[in-house]
Amino acid sequence: MEWDESLAIGIAEIDNQHKEIFRRVGILIGACKQGKGREEIGETLGFLKDYTVKHFKMEEGIQQLYGYPFYPEHKAMHEQFIRNFKGIKEEFEKKGPSLPLVLLLNKAVVNWLTDHIGREDKKIGEFMRKKVAA
């Protein structure tokens, strides 16, 4: 899973953070392939905790600033991801790292990269290029 130019929105602030989450998910997947997923899960969750807050706030701020028409839907997706993520994190804190939890987290983040960054965030880029930089 690597970030490539086709995912670029054109605002460096957003793109750099997307590159960062791709990198971090790559580390998690790499660890899983070596059978070390359980060792890595805590790190990934710690990263996501700060990342989701900082990144979503920034992305939503930009959407509001330029009047992105799908802002409410987009924000709802962010909230949904946070709920999902929190569920996994609480499970981790209660029961520690387990293989099912690693798989659950893997699925959540991989879906996020492909469905959200690969589809929804791209729409922001299209809007921005058409509207803001037109």
């Binding site: 460096a12 930009i62 330029y66 009047g67 290029r129 509207k131 803001v132 037109a134």
Partner: protein
Amino acid sequence: MEWNESFATGIKEIDDQHKEIFKEVGWLLDACRHGKGQEKIGDMVRFLGEYVSKHFWMEETLQQINDFPLYQEHKAMHAEFTRDFTKLREEFEEKGATLNFIHRINTLVIDWLVHHITREDKKIAEFIKNKKAA
């Protein structure tokens, strides 16, 4: 982004010029939301080029005349803004109005209006008012 009383310093010369920059930013954001960002950004760059030298010079002169104790610090903030802006303008001259450029100009100016005017410029006005009252 509109000027309102919460941005007032109480010194007419300063407030009038602040209103001017607020108006320009408002126009630019409006253009960005209506597919005319690229058309308007060149005007903004030209406006800012003239505005910062005129406005900073006026503010700094006022501070010197009144022996404002934070003159050096304030001047340094102006110099930093000018540096950031000059760097951005060079990028604009080289690469044109990319989406990233437009967004960075917006962010630079909005942060400045919100943080510098509300926090730093009010200190000048308070000092001058207290001095006159003493």
